[in-house]
Symmetry: C2
Subunit: 174 residues, 2 copies
């Protein structure tokens, strides 16, 4: 059952009232205390704080479709160069939507749902949806991409992991 | 004190063991059950699930530097067109790093820290860090951006909020 906009607002207001009533983390600084960043997928089944053991204030958390490091490059550079993070953790996951389609499929769905003008906008923006056919290979490719760009220092450790939506476990790949 | 790569791995392994030991959410489907998506900042001081009341499996969570909808467009289109979300919630926050610099500052820091080659890579990629000078205006601009693109259906409700890192409260702006 999709939630209505009103229900979203009600839920958010209630969460805000409850969360702020016991909130005692007003002393946290802007730069992450533990100086690392976690890049993971936007998937609804992932709770990075609980699943990956991230305490509030400790790490940047970047999330996009597929935990793509290419798509996250802007945020990664800001995190490292302006807010002094010194390690990168990539966590992709089993059952990821990015394993299920190719760019042309997405272009066709957009055209069908949103019309020819929307497809034209995709083409003008040269939007690459960055799907991948194999999970562990995609983790390795992302680590390689970050090792290949001059925008990430060679000394920055980058590790790659897979979260299992079936078990709640996170397993290291690279 | 920055965390070492080994400490990150130890922490993640421990979180994985603990989280998976009581994990009972293996039945959740790939598309978000409540069919909405939340876009917020990568800031270490934000715990979207707790602060915004998002139950596991209910919503996509996209995070980048500044909760930029322009930067998140690829993920938003995937969320809506391939995984059927029907509402967008943008949450920016007080004390955001994006309020503290301009593109040219970031380009200079990159050149100073990473060298002329890195700056050249930024220029070749035409990387826009998308900083903003005023918080509420930035929320409004992001809503406007999503209303302006043909890649988001006119009927999709988009609301804009500000999370207060000082109080733990989330307040609606638009």
């Amino acid at each position: 059952m999709p939630i209505t906009n009103e229900e979203i607002a009600t839920r958010l207001d209630a969460a805000s009232a409850s969360y702020s009533s016991t909130f005692d983390k007003d002393h946290l600084a802007l730069p992450p205390a533990k100086k690392y960043l976690v890049l993971t997928c936007m998937d609804a089944r992932i709770d990075p704080a609980r699943a990956f053991g991230i305490e509030l204030g400790d790490a940047h958390v970047i999330r996009n479709a597929g935990a793509s490091s290419k798509d996250a490059l802007r945020s990664i550079v800001i995190s490292q160069q302006l807010l002094a993070t010194e390690a990168i953790v990539i966590v992709k996951h089993t059952g990821c939507g990015m394993l299920t389609f190719q760019n042309e499929d997405a272009y066709e769905v957009v055209e069908k749902n949103l019309g020819a003008e929307a497809r034209k906008e995709l083409e003008e923006k040269k939007l690459d949806f960055l799907p991948f056919p194999e999970l562990k290979q995609a983790v390795q490719d992302d680590v390689k991409f970050l090792r290949g760009t001059k925008l990430v220092k060679d000394e920055i450790p980058v590790s790659g992991w897979v979260y299992e939506v079936e078990t709640g476990k996170t397993v290291r790949v690279v």
